[in-house]
Amino acid sequence: MNISVDLIWVGLKWVYLLAFGLYVGFSVVIVSQTQQMTKTLSGGVDKHVILISWLHLILSLLALVWAVVVL
């Protein structure tokens, strides 16, 4: 009984890690896209937009690391 319950949590852990991993991928897409966008149209908020997208990527990477450690 305990073995099967443990298996559920292990399976769930991998589902969560996959979700966090996918989110990191999404964050990478946002970073590259903001660079494309600011090259296409540069204005007064370029630096802020790029900074926010990098912070977003760092945050999602930290969340992934946290999930690997905690889950």
Partner: protein, 221 residues
């Protein structure tokens, strides 16, 4: 040796005609909306800080258009609901069978997704622009952050400009779609949900007239 008589002497220096007139000289729209300079605005006249990657050295951006701010309500509402979602659902947390570490991970993932949706919504609004320069009209489209499309047509190639405004909200908030038919490779440009669509159409007509005038006066490039 007899010097050739000077039959015609083109004006040099002082009397020389400028190659281009100032937009405010020929455009009533530019004069009326000269104050519209906000960086986060949907209707920006002669933005000084903005520059396009495909902009030519002597080309000036005269009008930068984005969708009306009301079109952001959808993602802002979703963002707001997602922000308060976990708080509202906390009533049901006791009934869930997840261990606390999984519950925390769910909340972290949820708020990351919330932030991502807000960022994607803002970027899509801010960088999907319609630009009118003194030479061209340009439509910059970024679809779902992975697809980019930039179309441009010369002012000379514009054949027809149509304004579409339907519905109560569009009429009250004065926004709509400007359709520009061109003789170029892309035959139709859609400036969707832009503020002051009638003024935009009027401005394009003013530019077309100025382009004609430039040709007549030999000022065209």
């Amino acid at each position: 040796m007899i010097a050739m008589p000077e039959i015609y002497n083109a004006a040099k220096g002082k009397g020389k005609q400028p190659i281009k007139r100032k937009p405010s000289d020929y455009s009533e729209v530019i004069r009326n909306f000269a104050h519209a300079k906000g960086l986060l605005s949907a209707f920006v006249v002669q933005p000084t800080q903005v520059r396009m990657g495909i902009q030519q050295s002597d080309e000036k951006i005269l009008l930068l258009l984005r969708r009306h701010w009301i079109t952001n309500v959808k993602w802002i509402t979703i963002f707001g609901l997602m922000l308060i979602g976990p708080v509202m659902l906390s009533v049901f947390v006791d009934q869930m069978f997840l261990p606390s570490r999984f519950m925390t991970a769910t909340v972290v993932l949820w708020y990351l997704l919330t932030f991502g949706i807000a960022l994607e919504g803002f970027l899509s609004w801010f960088y999907n622009v319609f630009i009118i320069t003194d030479e061209r009209i340009i439509d910059v489209d970024f679809v779902n952050l992975i697809y980019k499309n930039i179309s441009a047509a010369k002012i000379d190639n514009i054949e027809d400009v149509t304004v579409q405004m339907g519905g109560a909200i569009r009429n009250v908030l004065n926004f709509g779609t400007v359709l520009v038919q061109t003789a170029g490779e892309k035959t139709q440009f859609e400036f969707e949900d832009v503020p002051n669509p009638q003024e935009v159409a009027k401005f394009i007509n003013e530019l077309m007239l100025e382009e004609e005038q430039e040709k007549l006066e030999g000022r065209a490039k």
